[in-house]
């Protein structure tokens, strides 16, 4: 995250009026395109008051959806974080053939439509899929059950941590880690004492984004879940059900909860960035790893 340059006192000769026009346009566009949708969610979610919203969230189906969403996130985020760290370690430290291909493969889920992401698991584990008969014979449920939802979510959120950490490690280079090697550090010491402190910002942010997407994924989960009320509906799916049932206030109540999560993600990211920038300015790379 580059430090900001000295601001617009150095212009390109544009008049103050033009500047204000641009600023006004930018703010107006941001307000219309971005802020309004957010406000609509909260306005409709709280349209019948906080009590109603709370009751809607406490309804059995909604509560089940919330629990399922949290469970899925609790499983997928740690798994993808570990994957991301492993991938970043191998990519940043070793020059093996097909390295670029590996990085491209890791980014692949970003480019794939969520529906296709769900589709691929249905094709493998569904009744007509490769493992369909085997699973049916052993009474194992993957599609239309938690495992399928977890898999689809793993696919969709796979790149978040890996990408951020790889980018940062490649930008920072390996010299400090080489120094640590010459000083006798083994793999774990290297990771804990040198690598982790250096990548902590991109790691945290990647985890945040991974979590936001894991909780909010719709298309992929929609395909694999079977929409069984009270059992295989995550919060986004529950929103769809409530909305299609014309129960708008309840739908928006659940939506408001997710929107609050999104806001928290954004605010946390701003806080991380702000602390990072202050740390860089202060000349520290932050010292949360206190001297042992």
């Amino acid at each position: 995250m580059p430090a900001e340059r000295a601001p617009a006192e150095r212009g390109i000769g544009e008049s103050a009026a033009l500047r204000w026009l641009i600023v006004l346009l930018a703010v107006a566009i941001a307000a219309i395109m971005l802020l309004l949708p957010l406000l609509v969610v909260f306005a409709n979610g709280l349209s019948h008051g906080l009590g109603f919203a709370a009751a809607a969230l406490a309804a059995p189906d909604a509560r089940a959806a919330i629990e399922l969403t949290l469970l899925v996130a609790a499983i997928t985020v740690p798994l993808n974080t570990i994957f991301g760290l492993c991938a970043a370690w191998s990519v940043a430290h070793f020059r093996f053939p097909c390295r670029r291909l590996l990085v491209t493969l890791i980014e692949l889920p970003f480019a794939v439509s969520p529906v296709v992401a769900g589709l691929i698991y249905v094709l493998i584990f569904g009744l007509q899929g490769w493992f369909g008969p085997f699973l049916a014979a052993h009474d194992i449920q993957i599609i239309f059950a938690l495992p399928g939802i977890v898999l689809a979510t793993l696919f969709v959120t796979l790149p978040f941590v890996a990408r951020g950490v790889i980018a940062q490690m490649e930008a920072q280079g390996v010299e400090e880690e080489e120094a640590a090697l010459t000083l006798g550090a083994d793999g774990w010491q290297l990771f804990r004492r040198v690598t982790l402190p250096k990548i902590r910002w991109s790691l945290l942010y990647g985890v945040l984004l991974c979590n936001a997407r894991a909780m909010g994924e719709f298309g992929a989960v929609s395909v694999v879940s079977g929409h069984i009320r009270g059992l295989t509906n995550t919060m986004p799916l529950q929103i769809e059900i409530l909305y299609n049932d014309y129960n708008l206030p309840a739908a928006f109540a659940v939506a408001a909860l997710l929107a609050a999560m999104a806001l928290a993600t954004i605010v946390l990211r701003m806080a991380l960035e702000w602390r990072h920038r202050r740390a860089v300015a202060r000349g520290a790379d932050a010292v949360w790893l206190r001297a042992a």
Partner: protein, 285 residues
């Protein structure tokens, strides 16, 4: 001194942990990404060519492709100047609430697509906050292809802005000041000095917005209307085929989408690399 020639050695890695981390990475990728994708292609391949073309080229499929691609392209094209304006204002100017607007840009990234979907629908419906005034002048957005455009513009905007911002930050101010002293007008400076280095990043951002828009589902299906051949997007068509248990048909459509995604991904990577090289060259000068 005689040189001792031993047979060429295999290099040990300098850093520890290559084998375990690479193994985990590859196995994980294989299980989550590669094998399922292979399954998709295998299923699609159970159709013969005649069936594949029938699936892809029938009226409904073609219309869906047209809707998805058309709306995504229009939205990405719309996001380009808007994104440029926002990136410029956020980077170059100081104004109250700048940090707030900057944070808002991330909203489409962080907001779940279903939430965005119902929010946008409620906003643009004929008695919505925005849809109301528009309906007064005869413009209907919700439940029409325009609704798809609006949803995709929302979803794609951060890609353009966030790709442009670092490049705008890195612009060579000296070159701009030199142009000023040579008598160029602000517009000339913008067009000749500022825009060219931004173009690769702009293109990359637009490509990313397009790639995202083509496959977008949750933000779109609420506001789209979903009428076959008019406002039905390809992802929805895939879901419909699945619900009808037409697995091979869904797989064919899915494979087509996948092939497109791969192409776009490669194009975007190439664009990013070209953009990075151009920036490095500009800085070295």
């Amino acid at each position: 001194m005689a040189a001792t020639r031993i047979a060429r050695r295999r290099h040990h890695a300098v850093f520890p942990g290559l084998r375990p981390t690479l193994t985990v990475t590859l196995i994980y990728l294989a299980i989550i990404v590669l094998i399922p994708l292979a399954g998709l292609l295998a299923k699609a391949a159970t159709f013969d060519w005649a069936q594949i073309t029938a699936t892809l080229l029938n009226r409904r499929s073609l219309a869906a492709f047209r809707v998805s691609f058309g709306a995504a392209a229009a939205a990405a094209a719309f996001d380009a100047p808007i994104g440029l304006l926002l990136a410029w204002a956020l980077t170059r100017y100081r104004f109250p609430a700048r940090r707030f607007v900057d944070a808002l840009i991330d909203l489409p990234f962080a907001l779940p697509t279903a939430v965005a979907g119902i929010a946008l629908t409620t906003l643009y419906v004929d008695d919505g906050w925005i849809g109301g005034p528009l309906a007064q002048i005869g413009l209907h957005v919700a439940y029409t292809p325009s609704g798809i455009f609006v949803a995709l513009a929302f979803v794609g905007l951060p890609f353009v802005v966030r790709t442009l911002q670092p490049v705008v930050v890195d612009l060579e101010r000296d070159a701009e000041e030199a142009a000023m002293t040579l008598g160029a007008s602000p517009w000339q400076i913008f067009r000749r000095i500022i825009l060219p280095p931004l173009l690769p990043a702009l293109l990359t951002g637009v490509a990313m917005a397009f790639a995202r828009g083509v496959g977008e589902y949750g933000s779109v299906i609420f506001i789209a209307g979903n009428r076959p051949a008019i406002s039905e997007i390809v992802p929805l068509l895939i879901v419909t085929r699945l619900e009808q248990f037409d697995y091979p048909g869904a797989a064919v459509l899915g494979s087509a989408m996948l092939a497109l995604s791969l192409l776009l991904l490669l194009a975007i990577n190439a664009l990013q690399r070209g953009s990075a090289i151009a920036r490095r060259r500009a800085h070295a000068g």
